[in-house]
């Protein structure tokens, strides 16, 4: 599991998400495990997951591509940088998951190329088409895209509320690009620009950079010195993700003292 924490930190912002799925039926037991381990990996309770993926032992892991297809199966320990970097070479927009009416070819093409704003604009007329099949197919693609848009909006709210401004800006910039042609994209571009120019964003960047420099030196420091350095960082940048992480690490060193 520790190496998955590293994978998570290194690749999450590059498009790789970890899901640790378990069918354990005792939610409090799982919650306690996550809290005790201070686990920051994505964990999901999924009834019958073992049967669903026809796993043949614990733990088993899978690589799943942008379209939801299995691209690798193995032991979690076999997951390394070269494996993941190989997957990232294929990082692209997902394709429309089913065959649709030819009238939608231009919108589908835009979708497959990650131009979601252009795809939604292209669908507008087709959503009112007199042919029911075309209309239903247009609605299907519009629902996929609107679902994605709503999910990204929900993620932005979480990043905004938690002060994770670097992640917020990355999300807004991606949506400004992908949904170009819609008012939503303009709003994203404007908020990203405003956020980046603000003091809070600069503090997030500074804190992350300082913590990244500090982390490799912690192992060789006396616990009291490590705690002091981390405590200072958390006090200097209390409302940033790195500041909060530093505070958490400082508490761990306090326990070691």
């Amino acid at each position: 599991m520790p190496h998955l924490v590293e994978v998570n930190e290194k690749y999450r912002d590059k498009g790789v998400e970890i899901i640790m799925a378990t069918d354990v039926d005792k939610a409090p037991e799982l919650e306690k495990f996550i809290a005790d381990k201070k686990l920051k990996l994505g964990v999901a309770r999924v009834p019958d997951i073992y049967k669903l993926v026809k796993a043949q032992g614990y733990p088993t892991s899978y690589g799943i591509d942008v379209d939801g297809n299995c691209i690798w199966r193995g032991h979690p320990q076999q997951c390394n940088d070269s494996l993941i970097e190989g997957w990232l070479k294929d990082l692209r927009a997902p394709r429309v998951p089913r065959k649709l009416h030819d009238a939608l070819s231009s919108a589908v093409n835009a979708y497959d190329n990650g131009q979601y704003g252009a795809a939604l604009n292209g669908l507008e007329k087709l959503l009112k088409h007199k042919d029911e099949k075309i209309k239903a197919d247009a609605q299907y693609v519009a629902d996929l895209l609107n679902g994605r848009l709503e999910m990204n909006k929900a993620a932005a709210v979480i990043h905004r509320n938690s002060g994770d401004l670097e992640r917020l800006v990355a999300l807004l910039e991606a949506d400004a690009r992908d949904f170009s042609g819609l008012d939503y994209a303009k709003d994203c571009a404007s908020e990203a620009k405003k956020t980046k120019a603000g003091k809070a964003y600069k503090e997030c960047v500074e804190a992350r950079e300082k913590l990244a420099r500090l982390k490799p030196t912690l192992a060789t420091m006396k616990p009291a010195d490590a705690q002091k350095a981390l405590g200072k960082l958390s006090k200097d940048y209390p409302d940033t993700p790195a500041g909060r992480e530093a505070a958490e690490l400082a508490r761990e060193f306090e326990e070691k003292k």
Binding site: I18, M20, G63, R148
Partner: protein
Amino acid sequence: MKTLLTVLLTLLAASPGYAMDKGEEAPNFRFEASWNTLPGARQLTDYRGKIVFLEIWKIH
């Protein structure tokens, strides 16, 4: 003979079958509960556009 057949059928029924492998579409499972997962995600299809490292595990 009948006993042997029953044993074989029982073994076949208990077998997990072929494991999900390369090229196969992953089943769209739903999260009954989740922690630290992609904001807003409730099922695997919500991860479309991302590469997913899925680990099936158990608390020991």
